[in-house]
């Protein structure tokens, strides 16, 4: 049975208008998020993953702006909603958690208050009911003695506990979609594993779809259903997990996988760095670092082509030119 997409991002383009020029942080990005799945967006830092995620909820700050595309959530295009309509969706139908739990909680309010606030913003419940629900949520994300923790301030929580609290906050209204932007990067390795289990468990419990943003292919292999590989603001390759990890097509994805530490020895890295996005290279944006670059790669931009079911790759090595 073909699953239906709960969210489809279509030709999204987000630019930052800096003093030095226009930076195309996200350029022509399209993907579908299916009901109940975990989609991983993977790439090096600076590849535009976070900007893509922020664009979905239109949380891009000045000087950035979404300059094109559509983001369909059900029948609504999120980019065309008024700010009030969007506020009804944020934290209610689509939630987001951020990379650094230390700075994403307000230090002067209790953690509990910040969770209750997410409930009262969308549900007409009394303060007391919201607090009770918040305590349940804290318990659900694995915080011991939630009744006490509820009244504590963020600085009294450890890093892992803070991130659990932000997850509780994101789940406050049982959203359809959870966007997690590198939620474990700022945490210890041991806590990372627990967090990944938590995400898998919550996905089932809430029957929600998750967009999980990471630079870590190890994480991808553990939780992803589908994967989109981003580089310099563009999607290089997307498909289901096994296709991407076991049978990567794009030279960039291959490079990323080769970089993983293995028994053979030291991890390698892809030579070169992410290009300057104010004056990006012509043609395929990866060609300056690509071992297989051909003449055409310098001239034309590759369009995604289908290699087999659901596996798309944007590279001239594959498909018709």
């Amino acid at each position: 049975m073909e699953n239906s997409a709960v969210l489809s991002v279509d030709h999204l383009q987000t630019c930052f208008f800096t003093k030095k020029g226009k930076v195309m942080a996200v350029d022509d990005v399209s993907f579908d998020l299916l009901k109940g799945e975990i989609l991983c967006i993977v790439g090096e830092s600076g590849s535009g993953k976070t900007v893509t995620a922020l664009s979905i909820l239109r949380l891009i700050d000045h000087p950035g702006r979404i300059t094109g595309g559509k983001i369909m959530f059900g029948k609504k295009n999120l980019l065309e909603l008024t700010i009030r309509e969007l506020q009804d969706i944020r934290g209610n139908r689509i939630s987001m958690i951020f990379q650094d739990p230390h700075s994403s909680l307000n230090p002067v309010f209790t953690t509990g208050d910040q969770i209750s606030e997410a409930i009262t913003a969308h549900r007409s419940v009394s303060r007391k009911e919201a607090d009770a629900r918040a305590i349940e949520l804290l318990e659900l994300v694995g915080i011991p003695i939630p009744e006490e923790r509820f009244h504590e301030y963020p600085h009294q929580f450890s890093g892992g506990m803070k991130q659990r609290a932000t997850i509780a906050m994101a789940l406050a209204c049982a959203p359809d979609i959870l966007i997690a932007d590198e939620p474990t990067t700022a945490l210890d390795l041991t806590i990372q594993a627990q967090m990944l289990d938590l995400f898998s468990e919550l996905r089932k419990k809430f029957n929600m779809s998750i967009i999980y943003i990471t630079h870590d292919l190890g994480v991808v292999s553990e939780i992803a259903d589908h994967v989109a590989v981003m580089y310099a603001g563009r999607i290089m390759e997307k498909g289901c997990r096994d296709d991407i990890l076991k049978n990567p097509k794009h030279p960039y994805t291959k490079g990323l996988i080769d970089c993983l530490p293995s028994e053979k020895g030291k991890p390698a890295s892809i030579p070169g760095t992410i290009p300057n996005l104010i004056n990006p290279p012509e043609g395929c944006i990866f060609h300056p670092r690509c071992r297989f670059a051909m003449e055409i790669c310098r001239l034309r931009r590759p369009m995604p082509s289908k290699t087999n079911n659901e596996h798309y790759v944007s590279c001239f090595l594959y498909g018709d030119i």
């Binding site: 934290g91 209610n92 909680l105 307000n106 230090p107 009294q156 932000t166």
Partner: protein, 323 residues
């Protein structure tokens, strides 16, 4: 309160005591290296017709000028600590009594000006911050710059010239025989409050704007928006509350210089019988003990506000309160 907080306050109190001692000592040294002895000053203040030798002897024994320096210093400190701040020859009463009758007028002026400045300064600061880089923001910035640069004693004179001399809207006579908060006196305080308040508004609006902008860029603001909170709540609750922490501290730290800077001059211009007015009168009447007492009080008030700012910060910031 945890032990850590208590020991912190104890440490601050000790520091305050140490500085107070330094302040008193500095005043003592200034007094002693001045070209005129207290007796000379008193004589100048008394004018003719007194038995000079008797007065000199009385004053010298009161101040112990005949005793060795360390003795003088010791008795100076002990009498200050006992609340004996000297005798005002100009008004023939203890300096403490004089201060007790005058401080309330300074307090009233400063209270009203502070309320005016805090309300308007915060409003303008928020307004400018949420409209960053628009024409409105530039207008506020321009006003702030002008407000900080305009000498407040000149502003006072200009207000008198325009609103009192030319237009006749406000009288500027503070009548101590009427109740302090009588309509007449409040009316007479409009221009003084504006004179003292303008610079404060300008300063506060700048602090508030920059504190708001600092916090608008914080991650937790993005979290609040991602929760779907309306922008008004994001600003009022999440940004404002955090921005107020440094602002309250700065307002308190500024208090000492406002009480004995701006307010001093404002009282002099408008004839409000507060501490500043009293002190300047004492300067011209050569009323030595009063001048010294007001200087010491200025320092003590500054110290108290510094201490208060610390405690307020500790109370308002949960990161320090619960540690």
């Amino acid at each position: 309160m945890v032990f850590w907080v208590r020991s912190y306050i104890a440490k601050r109190l000790l520091h305050t005591a140490l500085i107070s001692w330094g302040v008193m000592t500095t005043a003592f040294i200034l007094m002693r290296i001045g070209p005129n002895s207290p007796a000379d000053k008193y004589l100048a203040g008394l004018g003719a017709g007194h038995n000079v030798t008797q007065v000199v002897a009385a004053i010298e024994s009161r101040y112990g000028v005949d005793k060795p320096l360390y003795d003088q210093y010791f008795s100076y400190i002990t009498s200050l600590l006992q609340g004996d701040w000297g005798w005002s020859f100009g008004t023939s009463m203890p300096v403490m009594e004089l201060i007790k009758t005058h401080w309330i007028y300074s307090f009233q002026l400063i209270l009203l000006s502070t309320i005016f400045a805090v309300v308007l300064g915060i409003a303008l600061g928020i307004f400018a911050a949420v409209r960053k880089n628009t024409a409105a923001d530039h207008a506020v910035a321009f006003f702030s710059f002008a407000g900080i640069s305009i000498p407040n004693f000149w502003l006072g004179i200009m207000l008198i010239l325009i609103f009192s001399v030319k237009l006749g809207w406000f009288k500027t006579y503070y009548d101590t025989s009427l109740p302090m908060f009588s309509l007449e006196n409040l009316h007479a305080l409009v221009l003084p409050v504006f004179t003292l308040g303008t610079g404060m508004v300008a300063g506060y609006s700048r602090y508030v704007r920059s504190a708001m902008l600092d916090n608008l860029g914080k991650d937790f603001v993005r979290t609040a928006r991602a929760k779907g909170l309306p922008e008004s709540i994001v600003i009022r609750k999440h940004v404002f509350r955090n921005a107020m922490l440094p602002v309250i501290t700065i307002i308190m730290l500024d208090m000492g210089s406002i009480v004995f800077g701006g307010a001093y001059i404002t009282e002099v211009i408008f004839g409000i019988p507060g501490l500043g007015w009293m002190s300047l009168k004492a300067v011209f009447a050569d009323d030595y003990a009063v001048v010294l007492a007001v200087t010491l009080i200025g320092a003590i008030i500054t110290l108290l506000f510094n201490l208060l700012a610390d405690i307020a910060y500790m109370y308002l910031d949960p990161r320090i309160r619960y540690e």
